[in-house]
Amino acid sequence: MTEDTNARIDQIVKKDDVVLFMKGSPLFPQCGFSSRAVAILDHLNVTYESVDVLQDQGVRQGIKSYSDWPTIPQLYVKGEFVGGSDIMMEMYESGELAELFKASAPST
């Protein structure tokens, strides 16, 4: 991964509170795992930024070394890597994910 891609990913990850790297878009996910990740976030009514890695080969490969995680989707909250869709599902079922979003919601 080039320094450039790494810096670009870092910027994306830190720009928004909740960022999902996925294949396709939330409306048209291109993979079952990405679709599951979107469904979980939508169900929790979370506002998030999504990045379609299929549109950017640099990011598609780079995000895997950025987090040292071999698969997509990848969820980031407040700049921290949370996990892939399996971890999201476990955390959703246990209520931890809702807690995490509650804790990181901007105070108004």
Partner: protein, 76 residues
């Protein structure tokens, strides 16, 4: 080339010797699996670290030949 269930299990057990591994072939096509890996060595590790330990045992196949492996992990 997809991987066989017993090959996945053998690799995980080779990397994490005390692990109990259950593999389910989700679609019956030898390509979509669910794995549940329980290992006392996961104690004190968060989920990301537990999953990474399993991916490491799979030696880089995850996301490559193994693109559809649903994973759950636990310490006990």
């Amino acid at each position: 080339m997809p991987m066989a269930a017993d090959e996945i299990e053998a690799m995980i057990r080779a990397g994490i010797p005390d692990a109990t591994v259950e593999i389910t072939d989700l679609a019956g096509d030898g390509d979509h699996y669910a794995a549940r890996v329980v290992s006392p060595s996961f104690a004190g590790m968060n989920r990301v670290k537990q999953h990474k330990a399993v991916y490491e045992a799979l030696g880089g196949r995850m996301g490559g030949v193994l693109h559809a492996l649903q994973l759950t992990t636990a310490a006990s």
